[in-house]
């Protein structure tokens, strides 16, 4: 029997959740025995080779490209997991949500205290278009499991993966559920 396939992706976030995945230490060897990785920044595969069993997304949705990527993941993953506060709740990137986008950009690129001699708001075909807000994943597509934390601890991630791969209920001891 082929090993289950996993894909991962990060959107607007600090990559900390991916670090936390790697932080499972030597269990990563066990994981490698249990699964194969498809599309993921960990192996730098940028497109789905084929549909996978588990998709893991870190980060909130903040531009048009993210929407596309997320929908692509939903289409290609049997089970889709949001990991980390940015993906599943409000977090640092979403702190801009109560300020209109234009004001945000102007503050960052035109009027902020670190701007010298004016400035410009970057605009290029290759830069995705920002959304008005940073959205948690489930406002855009269906998310099957949520793993909160900033980042979720390696143990949380490990527990969740093992449960999913062995078909058990996801249950966490008190210490593993954290919003920070």
């Amino acid at each position: 029997m082929a090993k289950p396939l996993i894909a991962t992706q990060h959107l607007t976030s600090c990559f900390g959740c991916h670090m936390s995945i790697l932080d499972i230490d030597d269990r990563i060897l066990k994981l490698a025995k249990m699964v194969d990785f498809d599309r993921s920044p960990i192996n730098d595969i940028k497109e789905f080779t084929w549909p996978v069993d588990i998709g893991i997304i870190e980060g909130g949705v903040s531009n048009d490209e993210h929407v596309e990527i997320l929908k692509d993941f939903r289409k290609n993953c049997k089970v889709l997991i949001g990991i980390g506060s940015c993906a599943v709740a409000n977090s640092v990137p979403s702190m801009r949500n109560t300020v209109p986008l234009k004001e945000c950009l102007e503050e960052a690129y035109l009027n902020g205290p670190t701007i010298v001699d004016g400035g410009i708001i970057p605009n290029d075909e290759d830069i995705p278009i920002l959304l008005d807000k940073v959205y948690p994943l489930h406002e855009v597509v269906k998310i099957d499991y949520f793993l909160p934390g900033c980042p979720p601890s390696a143990d949380t991630i490990w527990n969740a993966l093992v449960a999913l791969l062995t078909g058990k209920e996801l249950e966490f001891p008190y210490e593993l559920i954290k919003y920070d």
Binding site: V61, N63, D64, E65, V67, E68, K71, K75, P100, L101, K102, L105, I121, N123, E125, I127, P128, I129, L130, L131, D132, K133, Y135, H138, E139, V140, V141, K142
Partner: protein, 593 residues
């Protein structure tokens, strides 16, 4: 200038003895002069009353009649409750905007006119309707609006406009409330008995409260009488704010004497010397008439000291005007408001009969209940209990509005079927009836053989009919908006829950919902009902939940057979970014699933 204000405010405060429990009256008088409350005004009131300004602000910001930004000399409050919308309030609103030259929510630059929306103002039988300052106008047509605005600009007397002639609209009188009466008969009959005998008679009659909850009146009075206290109070609840009710309006204009009679009897029965009528702010135009009637009663010895020469039976009545808050109809919120605070309901127990107004035993009764009590004194409990059904003695006033040919107030005997009632009011073609106003249920035709009574469809009095072609779901949304607007905000399940309910329901109405949303909304509704502090939250989910129960086909028709639809709206989310960059976003073909 500022000293002027301070002096005026100080005088008003002194007029009420700087009594914090009379804050409502003080605010009403200050409002009558300035039309709104600046921070400066708030500061002056605080100083004059020796109350921290934050407490004054707390109270002002709670009531819709009090504004914290300047308003025009004339404020036009167009009612936009459900029935008003059905009857063309939107077209009338456009006409007002055209004639006045500003949008709703705005004031003309010369400070002459403010346009604003109001909840139900108790005129659903004559919708569309509005309050022009305190004067109600009804049966508005877009083509009348020009003349009305002209009259306002010319500073004419608004109450002389043809639209200001309020129809009584009493369509059917019954033996209890609207039978002929003579002032004093009921009180005289009561005074022949001991207070205990009065209570026994009321108990024997099986009279239950007409304000919605249906609590046995005799039991309430007895409980109030039996609590040891130096003072007791009678409160008449005339705050009717449930959209679609206006029966208390008709009682107060046609049978005020019977109401006062009932209050006096209640005072005698429970041992209270003081009664307060809490009259909704929307009915302020009745105040002068009511005061006159009270004065007449005093002259006749029906109020005051040693009433009808009964030694040591003293009873006085005062009228408290409200300032626009539906929740103040809830008895404990009403009491808070009477005491000069924001109208947030209290926790129960203790009930008002134990600790009510000023922490003294207080019997709060609906206007109609008090009328019935007076009539029972006149005619006897035996007579009363032969009317209606065994569990629901007497008559009920129903305020009928919506799609029917004869809207108005009907005094019917309990036990009438909905079907018979439909014929009476000319609503034979109704596809649905909302019995009990927004907080009641949406009844489908297959239940029209059921009865209006405490044991079946119990109602405080509002009955709204919907005719063929009405979009029921949209109306359920509007009812829900009413609760969002009127939630007092004290407790989280109601404050946040009603808003969430509306958000979820929007998805349904806009065709962006799956079976998941239906299940979510049911679950959410149960949480709000179980966890909310008072009756408002506990019934707020009813429009949606009862329509789901009785009209499932409406929901089946709009939900999508897909797995999931997010709340995310790509076009809306990307538009600001696209505009700033002047670029086209990645196409979102699949984004719209």
């Amino acid at each position: 200038m500022s000293e002027d204000h301070a002096l005026f405010i100080k005088k008003v405060a002194e007029k009420y003895g700087r009594d914090p429990t009379r804050l409502m009256d003080i605010l009403l008088e200050v409002n009558a002069r300035y039309g709104w409350f600046s921070e400066e005004t708030i500061g002056h009131i605080g100083e004059a009353m020796d109350i921290p300004r934050v407490k004054i602000r707390d109270k002002i910001s709670f009531y819709t009649f009090f504004s914290q930004k300047p308003v025009g000399k004339t404020v036009i409050r167009l009612s936009n409750s459900v029935v008003e919308k059905m009857k063309g309030a939107a077209e009338v609103a456009r006409a007002f905007e055209d004639a006045v030259g500003v949008k709703f929510g705005e004031t003309t630059p010369d400070g002459a006119i403010t346009l604003t929306y109001a909840q139900c103002i108790g005129m659903s039988d004559q919708a569309p309707s509005a309050l022009i300052n305190h004067t109600p106008v009804g049966n508005l047509l877009p083509e009348d609006v020009g003349d009305i605005v002209e009259a306002i600009k010319n500073e004419e007397d608004i109450s002389q406009l043809p639209q200001a002639l309020i129809d009584v609209n009493l369509r059917r009188s019954g033996p209890v409330v609207f039978a002929p009466m003579d002032a004093g008969t009921a009180v005289r009959a009561a005074l022949k008995m001991t207070p205990e005998q009065v209570i026994d008679e009321i108990k024997k009659s099986n009279l239950r409260g007409r304000g919605g909850a249906g609590f046995p009146t005799g039991k309430k009075w007895e409980a109030c009488r039996n609590v040891k206290s130096d003072f007791r109070y009678i409160v008449c609840n005339a705050d009717e704010g449930e959209p679609g009710t206006f029966k208390d309006r008709v009682i107060m204009s046609e049978r005020a004497n019977l109401v006062f009679e009932g209050m006096t009897i209640a005072g005698y029965a429970v041992g209270a010397e003081y009664g307060i009528v809490y009259l909704r702010g929307e009915y302020e135009y009745m105040l002068e008439d009511l005061k006159r009637i009270l004065e007449e009663r005093r002259k006749k010895g029906l109020l005051g000291k040693n009433i009808l020469d009964k030694k040591d039976f003293n009873f006085a009545i005062r009228i408290q005007i409200g300032a626009g808050a539906y929740i103040c109809g809830e008895e404990s919120a009403l009491i808070e408001s009477l005491e000069g605070k924001r109208g947030a309901p209290r926790e129960r127990p203790p009930f008002p009969v134990e600790k009510g107004y000023m922490n003294r035993p207080t019997a709060v009764n609906n206007v109609e209940t008090l009328c019935a009590a007076a009539r029972i004194m006149e005619q006897g409990a035996d007579w009363f209990s032969t009317i209606g059904t065994e569990a629901s003695a007497g008559t009920k006033l129903l305020s009928v509005s919506g799609d029917c040919s004869r809207p108005g107030v009907y005094e019917i005997e309990y036990g009438i079927t909905v079907a018979r009632f439909l014929k009476m009011v000319g609503a034979e073609h109704a596809i649905a009836a909302k019995i009990g106003g927004p907080s009641g249920r949406l009844v489908a035709p297959n239940d029209f053989d059921r009865t209006i009574s405490f044991e079946d469809f119990s109602t405080g009095g509002s009955v709204i009919f919907f005719g063929p072609g009405r979009d029921l779901l949209t109306h359920m949304k509007q009812f829900t908006e009413f609760f969002v607007e009127e939630s007092c905000g004290w407790c989280t399940p109601c404050r946040v829950g009603t808003t969430l309910m509306l958000k979820e329901f929007d998805k349904i109405i806009e065709g962006r919902a799956t079976r998941t949303e239906i299940e979510n909304i049911k679950k959410l509704g149960q949480t709000i009902k179980t966890m909310s502090r008072c009756g408002l939250g506990q019934t707020a989910p009813n429009p949606i939940l009862t329509s789901m129960q009785n009209f499932p086909e409406l929901y089946e028709a709009v939900i999508k057979p897909v797995d999931y639809i997010g709340t995310f709206d790509f076009a809306k989310a990307v538009s600001a970014g696209a505009e700033i960059t002047g670029r086209k976003p990645h196409s979102d073909e699949e984004a719209n699933l």
